[in-house]
């Protein structure tokens, strides 16, 4: 048994990245997902381009409010050779520009370029989280596919909502339900794999307890989204089921990312492979408080 004698030996929740950092992942993921959806789904509403770009911009604004020296923000571009944050920042202006310009009818083909840039941006975001080696919940390799797939699911949710609610409504709602349902199912699989990976590879006890407490709630929302998307096939005349699925897909994604960035962000804590000899005797067994 290990008894920490003073505070802050066992892993504790980091406080440097709060809801503002989570906002970058939330809006950035949804925005890039929306742009990817606009690029790959035939007949997607043109407004998705600027909408996706606006989401990404919102995410960047969240980060801007978080950094300690906002007027030096342009320094973020200086180390793309190793930093995923620099890479993300370098893609951002091109992504936002192409997303906005895709609204212009003559430049509609820019949506494909915006989609490619959005995919790169989304991947950068996932790797950015993963490169934070001090946070076990983020550095786990399965966090990367989870972040990517949830961004895609959220984007599909926004795309479906805009497609069915904004005139002219897309009538082929049943067709749209397939990719949305597929991405929600993929996210459920990614969450289960992520949770299993953390449990198998070891993580702070408090993180695992929090994950065990929170994951079922979010998975229920995802399951409801999946059922609603599939219900579209037996409700061919309206778009209510797929709209509900889309809202839930976006909401669950945002909830997940806030959970991962803010609530599961327990740090590494401290560890001793051995305890030392004091005076006489031999080394004792090690200690890893909180693991």
């Amino acid at each position: 048994m290990v008894v920490p004698n003073s505070s802050r030996i066992a892993p504790w929740r980091q406080t440097y990245w709060d809801w503002r950092a989570a906002g970058n992942f939330i809006f950035g993921g949804t925005g890039t997902g929306t742009l990817i959806y606009a690029a790959v789904v035939p007949g997607a509403p043109p407004v998705l381009g600027p909408l996706g770009a606006a989401f990404v911009l919102c995410g960047l604004l969240c980060v801007w409010f978080e950094i300690g020296r906002p007027w030096r923000a342009l320094n973020v571009f200086r180390r793309p050779r190793s930093s995923w944050m620099s890479r993300e920042a370098l893609i951002a202006p091109w992504l936002i520009a192409t997303g906005m310009l895709a609204l212009v009818p003559r430049l509609a083909e820019l949506r494909v370029l915006a989609g490619v840039l959005a995919l790169a941006y989304l991947y950068c975001q996932a790797r950015m989280l993963n490169a934070a080696r001090g946070i076990p919940a983020w550095r786990h390799p399965r966090a990367v596919p989870l972040m990517v797939v949830t961004g895609l699911a959220e984007g599909a949710g926004v795309g479906v909502l805009v497609g069915t609610l904004a005139p002219p409504a897309i009538v082929a709602a049943a067709w749209l339900a397939w990719p949305l349902a597929g991405l929600i199912a993929l996210r459920i699989a990614a969450v289960v794999a992520y949770r299993g990976g953390l449990q198998r590879d070891g993580a702070p006890q408090r993180l695992l307890r929090e994950l065990s407490r929170e994951a079922p709630k979010r998975l229920i929302v995802d399951a409801c989204a999946l059922v609603a998307a599939l219900a579209q096939f037996v409700w061919p005349r309206g778009t209510v089921p797929i709209d509900v699925a889309a809202v839930l897909a976006v909401a669950a994604g945002w909830w997940w990312k806030h959970t991962i960035v803010v609530r599961l962000s327990y740090n590494q804590g401290f560890a001793l492979p051995l305890t030392p000899v004091r005076g006489a005797g031999v080394s004792g067994p090690g200690a890893r408080p909180g693991w």
């Binding site: 920490p4 020296r69 973020v76 490169a131 934070a132 080696r133 090690g286």
Partner: protein
């Protein structure tokens, strides 16, 4: 090459926190920010219990996770292995703080003093507005180490060019020197004692070694 490292003899550390106080005195860190602290870890079940005092600070890793993630280039590695921060370039994104597996990065947004809004004379003397809103950490007392190049003194041997925490240690638990010099104090200690480095499995190549017992 030179690689400055610190060696901590865990069997000698008494947990007196003098190094913590010396660090605060030397670097003027604000309340709540401890570039160096001593962990107090109890292990075992009565009657087989142990109490271990573990001084921790920035590990000045050979492969620093904080360096790779820094988007600005503010975090850099010197040719003698020390990891440093350029406060004029740092944007305070705290990416390095979440990348450090030793929890040794700090960020303070507003000036804080020990006794309210008015700084003490020492705090006033050491206050540096460049450190607000940016990431800070232990520098291995870099101003002292840098002085060694001018004076020809040896860090870890001559107190003038040795980190304040090492100078202050009452139990000779802390040692500082060049690991790449086979004749240095730290190389000798590492040769003669069993040792480990914290979280080595994360591939950080940390620059603080902990001695546990005499070899052989």
């Amino acid at each position: 090459m030179t690689r400055y490292v610190m060696v901590v003899d865990l069997g000698r550390c008494t947990g007196c926190q003098t190094c913590t106080a010396a660090c605060k005195h030397a670097n003027g860190t604000p309340p709540g920010v401890q570039w160096r602290r001593v962990l107090d870890i109890e292990t075992g079940v009565f009657p087989n219990v142990r109490r271990t005092f573990v001084p921790v600070s920035c590990m000045h890793c050979g492969s620093p996770p904080c360096l790779d993630v820094c988007p600005t280039g503010a975090t850099y590695q010197r040719d003698d292995g020390r990891v440093a921060i350029n406060y004029d370039v740092c944007i305070g994104c705290a990416y390095c703080a979440v990348a450090c597996p030793y929890q040794q990065r700090f960020k303070v947004q507003h000036a804080q003093f020990a006794y309210g809004e008015q700084p003490t004379a020492a705090e006033e003397r050491q206050f540096d507005p460049a450190k607000l809103g940016v990431s800070t950490k232990c520098t291995f007392c870099s101003d002292r180490i840098d002085r060694a190049r001018e004076t020809g003194q040896v860090p870890g041997i001559d107190p003038d060019v040795t980190p304040a925490c090492v100078n202050s240690c009452i139990g000779s638990a802390l040692h500082f020197g060049d690991r790449d010099d086979p004749k240095s104090n730290v190389s000798t200690l590492l040769r003669e004692n069993r040792h480990f480095r914290m979280h080595e499995e994360l591939g950080t190549d940390p620059g603080i070694y902990y001695l546990t017992e005499k070899d052989g």
